[in-house]
């Protein structure tokens, strides 16, 4: 039922470099996000491996103190802003329009602008390596260590400017996807019929819209302190460094949910597909996701239990944090109930989704420990917290996103990906991850603080550190297996079917990869599982539930004409202008002004360029006078 779909369409990814630079197709932009994120995953991973080598033995001398501080700062910043967020954005970009039955996002050129702004921001951040002065105050950059007095180099400037630029990309894409999800759903797709992945994406967009402004304010204060001599965070001049902590964590904690909710969404798609059941209690899952996002804004000071905010504040933030365990627990139980009574097919996406559930539980439970200030003041800034956050971000987010990568790989590439190597990847990663991060609990309990480049021999920390380092290299091997698997898949000639997993949602109704216009006919939706309904019918009688041999869900060719937006050079050039404007602060005023001029000019040209120009992509028969 799939082979028919391929021949009729021009290949999705044809075209040279120029077609990629000017694309406004959400699918190509999704691929661009994915490739960038995987590249930075390797960069951040190499930084982690150097960190682990340095810590493998006491008083090691792989890197010096300053280099070590730069490495963990870049590792954290890279993994949060250059890997996990863009990898989620890759899945959002590619999948959301397909899952809601839309032909593209609401603002295709803004979408391209978001990607290129992110990309140039990420380049600016890493340029700091090439001028030999990467940031070194941690990804959380606590004031007043970031002040000009204690950090006179350019590293902090690279960091604060690039993260601000990437923040603009995040806010722009948050607006775009909020509008897309709310306004561009196919007819009949009420909000309660929206797939869980798209729901979690919507919560993430709202979190980004509300969380990035406070961090932007924090960065602007810091920028003013460093560039113009203000004293927002300078205690000797009456400023307060603790202001930074509040502003940072008002962003920073919602950011945790920005990083984990996409993974929750993926798992909520993968488990039902491979258990061949609907998601258990979908409304509970939707509302618990919303509640997690909402509560996420009221718990920031649980990162500050050692700051000395007083017993009343500690109590309030402690109890609010504990409340988050309730909707999170609901999600875990509902996932298990989804598997319960199913016919579970053990394919690679399911492995990673189940791995995510099993490992995230560990990070969630140590999170409950940190919700209790008396316990947290022991574990805070110790390796116990390093273990906790990696169980959340690696066990939770990375495993969830790999579940998504394996799940949607055939859809995106049109090729199946090896099951054997996929499972090898999974097992190596599970073992490596637990070997790396579980011993860190022990190190934390034994009093080892975070962010130290060396430790004395008589403290008894070397054994678990050595084991953690071995585990880290096992993770590196598992990632290598993934890339081999990916390369083999891309080199293979076997066409993936449109619906390889017998799934329930709309993206599987179109060919793999989908045609440029996504849907020949915009589907009409009358269920939360429209494709399942199409295949198996509405009957509730088990005995008749065999797959319908009915008509394909989508015709081969569009019956009416489809107009798609033209590629445009202005989004990428505007993004370049923005990056020059920001990066120019490190060079001189002339470059800031030049960047601003480029930005204004490109946005102006963009605004006056019609979305569909002569020669824009069209499909289907010529218009016959009627509206399309």
């Amino acid at each position: 039922m799939s082979a028919h779909a391929t021949a009729a369409h021009p290949p999705l990814y044809a075209g040279g470099l120029r077609s990629w630079l000017t694309t406004v197709d959400h699918k190509r932009i999704g691929v661009l996000y994915g490739v960038s994120a995987l590249f930075y995953f390797v960069v951040g991973g190499v930084e982690a491996l150097i960190i682990r080598l340095q810590l493998a033995s006491p008083t090691a001398d792989v890197v010096g103190a300053d280099t070590f501080n730069q490495l963990f700062t870049m590792h954290g910043t890279t993994m949060v802003f250059l890997v996990l967020m863009p990898l989620s954005a890759a899945l959002f970009n590619y999948m959301i329009p397909l899952m809601i039955g839309a032909r593209d996002v609401a603002f295709p050129r803004l979408n391209a602008f978001s990607f290129w702004t992110f990309f140039f921001g990420s380049v600016l951040l890493n340029l700091s390596f090439f001028v030999g002065d990467p940031p070194d105050a941690g990804w959380f950059g606590y004031a007043n260590l970031t002040s000009k007095q204690y950090n006179p180099g350019m590293g902090i400037d690279f960091w604060l400017l690039s993260v601000q630029i990437m923040g603009i990309a995040s806010i722009a894409s948050a607006v775009n996807f909020t509008v897309t999800i709310l306004n561009m759903r196919a007819p009949g797709m009420s909000l309660m019929r929206v797939p869980l992945f798209v729901w979690m994406a919507l919560v993430v967009q709202v979190l980004m819209l509300l969380a990035f402004p406070p961090i932007t304010v924090a960065f602007i204060f810091l920028m003013f302190d460093r560039f113009f001599g203000t004293h927002f965070y300078i205690p000797s001049a009456g400023g307060t460094p603790i202001l930074w902590q509040h502003l940072f964590w008002i962003f920073g904690h919602p950011e945790v949910y920005i990083l984990i909710l996409p993974s929750f969404g993926v798992v909520s798609e993968v488990l039902p597909t491979f258990a061949r059941k609907p998601l258990f209690g979908a409304p509970f899952m939707i509302f618990s996701g919303i509640l997690i996002g909402f509560l996420g804004f009221g718990v920031w000071s649980h990162h500050m239990f050692t700051t000395g905010l007083g017993a009343v504040a500690d109590t309030a933030f402690s109890l609010a944090t504990m409340l988050i365990a309730i909707p999170t627990g609901v999600k875990i139980f509902n996932w298990i109930a989804t598997l319960w009574g199913g016919h579970i097919r053990f394919r690679t996406p399911l492995y990673f989704a189940v791995g995510m559930v099993g490992l995230f539980i560990i990070g969630g439970l140590s999170g409950i420990m940190h919700a209790s200030p008396p316990v947290d003041i022991q574990q805070h800034d110790s390796y116990f917290v390093v273990a906790h956050l990696h169980y959340v971000f690696f066990g939770g987010t990375v495993f969830g996103l790999f579940a998504g990568i394996y799940y949607w790989w055939p859809k995106v590439t049109g090729r199946m990906i090896g099951e054997g190597l996929g499972k090898l990847h999974f097992w190596l990663m599970v073992v490596g991850m637990n070997l790396t991060f579980f011993p860190m609990h022990f190190l934390g309990l034994d009093g080892m603080p975070r962010r130290i480049y060396t430790y004395a021999t008589d403290l008894g920390w070397e054994r678990w550190n050595m084991i953690a380092t071995v585990g880290a290299f096992l993770i590196a091997v598992s990632v290598l297996v993934f890339f081999v698997n990916a390369a083999r898949s891309l080199a293979s000639k076997t066409q993936a079917p449109a619906d390889p997993w017998d799934a329930a949602t709309l993206e599987w109704t179109v060919s793999s990869p989908p045609p440029e216009y996504n849907f020949a006919v915009v589907p009409t939706v009358n269920s939360a599982r429209p494709f399942w309904l199409h295949k198996y019918g509405p009957t509730r009688d088990i005995s008749t539930r065999t797959k319908a041999q009915g008509t394909p869900a989508q015709p081969d060719n569009p019956p009416t004409r489809i107009d798609l937006p033209s590629p445009s050079s202005w989004p990428i050039l505007a993004a370049l202008g923005l990056a020059l404007l920001g990066g120019g602060a490190l060079v001189g005023l002339w470059m800031v002004l030049f960047g601003a001029a480029v930005l204004v000019f490109c946005v102006y040209r963009w605004a006056f360029q019609p979305l569909e120009r002569t020669g824009h992509p069209t499909f289907g028969p010529a218009p016959s006078g009627g509206s399309s």
């Binding site: 010096g64 103190a65 501080n69 941690g138 606590y142 007043n144 260590l145 204690y150 460094p241 061949r276 059941k277 609907p278 209690g281 050692t306 000395g308 007083g310 017993a311 500690d314 109590t315 402690s318 109890l319 504990m322 365990a325 309730i326 139980f333 598997l339 319960w340 009574g341 199913g342 016919h343 579970i344 053990f346 189940v354 559930v357 099993g358 439970l365 409950i368 420990m369 209790s372 200030p373 008396p374 316990v375 003041i377 022991q378 805070h380 800034d381 110790s382 022990f442 309990l445 034994d446 009093g447 603080p449 975070r450 130290i452 008589d458 008894g460 198996y536 088990i542 539930r545 065999t546």
Partner: protein, 346 residues
């Protein structure tokens, strides 16, 4: 009245819990550490030597058992579901399409809420205990000032100023006032209990009553720059007699020999360091009045031996990267003289 109630609660709490749950906790965790837990005290945070640490450990014990229980139950349910409901080969039938079961879902919404209640109660009680007034009516007041990258300790009532080695008497509450001279640091002696930040421009407080004499490792827990990893300290919990002896020795410093003082002054050391009773009154670096009596140098990085002291004077930066003490390009004779003088300051 309030103080005594608080005291009783703290003691009662620590006594009733410390037996069962701590033994079990140790029994569970120690085998993981294997047999190597011999020389250094493994699991420092689980072996508190103060009332503060015991209060913290009690809450940790509660949480550990709740979370360990939840962990086992949930992971077993997950594994059971995977094994029990795996697809058999040749199985093409579609399972029953269950969409949910509201009563069950309400049940597992309420269950975590109930468990949280049991976690919240000891948590809140302990928050107020720890941040309330110290249990001792007459605590030993100590001011702790963080510097890049060393610790300054001041005993206002004893008139003692020292660095990197904190002495407290066993059984008497020490009440710390914490602040910083430059960036944010964090005071942490794992076996004493939790940490508290040293914020520039404001003061934090932390009290604890040490219960066992000994020497305990501590170090800065908030990233504070290049040598954050090297900002270590030693906490000496002395019995009453040795504490009295130590504080008497610290106060009754003999006048240093004047030739040595002159070497110290002409070498430029006095710009940053103080030696009581001499013109050396610098305030930037550690007070060196009794430096010869300390067991370690360079914020507990190296043992206090003449060789190590000489190495430190020769090139501070190669001992402690980024050290703010400049390399004064002293010749070997000058270094030898300084070492002899400084080691004699007791």
């Amino acid at each position: 009245m309030l103080v005594s109630i608080r005291l009783q609660t703290a003691e009662a709490v620590s006594r009733e819990r410390s037996t069962l749950s701590k033994t079990l906790l140790a029994a569970l965790l120690l085998p993981i550490a294997g047999c190597a837990a011999v020389e250094s005290p493994d699991w420092r945070t689980l072996r508190p030597v103060s009332d503060f640490g015991v209060l913290v450990l009690d809450v940790y014990g509660d949480l550990f058992w709740w979370t360990a229980g939840i962990f086992v139950v949930v992971e077993l349910l997950l594994i059971y579901a995977l094994v029990r409901y795996r697809s058999r080969s040749g199985d093409s039938e579609v399972p029953d399409q269950v969409h949910g079961f509201t009563a069950l879902e309400i049940g597992w919404t309420l269950l975590p809420a109930a468990i949280l209640f049991f976690i919240a109660i000891p948590t809140v009680r302990t928050i107020f205990l720890l941040q309330g007034a110290p249990p001792d009516r007459d605590p030993l007041e100590i001011t702790v000032i963080g510097h890049q990258w060393w610790w300054e300790f001041r005993y206002p009532e004893l008139g003692i100023v020292t660095a990197n080695e904190l002495h407290v008497p066993v059984g008497r509450t020490a009440s710390l006032t914490l602040t910083s001279a430059d960036v944010i640091h964090s005071f942490w002696v794992p076996q004493i209990g939790g940490k508290r930040d040293l914020n520039p421009g404001s003061e934090n407080r932390l009290w604890f009553t040490p219960t066992e004499p000994g020497v305990y490792h501590g170090q800065c827990a908030e990233l504070c720059g290049t040598s954050h990893a090297n900002m270590r300290m030693r906490l000496f919990v002395d019995d009453s007699a040795s504490f009295a002896q130590w504080s008497a020795a610290m106060r009754a410093t003999a006048a240093p020999d004047s030739a040595g003082v002159m070497t110290f002054l002409i070498s430029g050391c006095a710009a940053c360091h103080t030696i009581a009773g001499t013109p050396a009154q610098g305030k930037v670096g550690p007070d060196l009045t009794s430096v010869g009596s300390r067991t370690t140098l360079a914020s507990s990085m190296i043992p206090n031996t003449p060789e190590m002291m000489a190495a430190w004077l020769r090139s501070p930066d190669s001992v402690k990267p980024g050290a703010l003490m400049p390399d004064l390009n002293l010749d070997e004779q000058r270094i030898a003289d300084l070492v002899e003088f400084l080691e004699g300051l007791r």
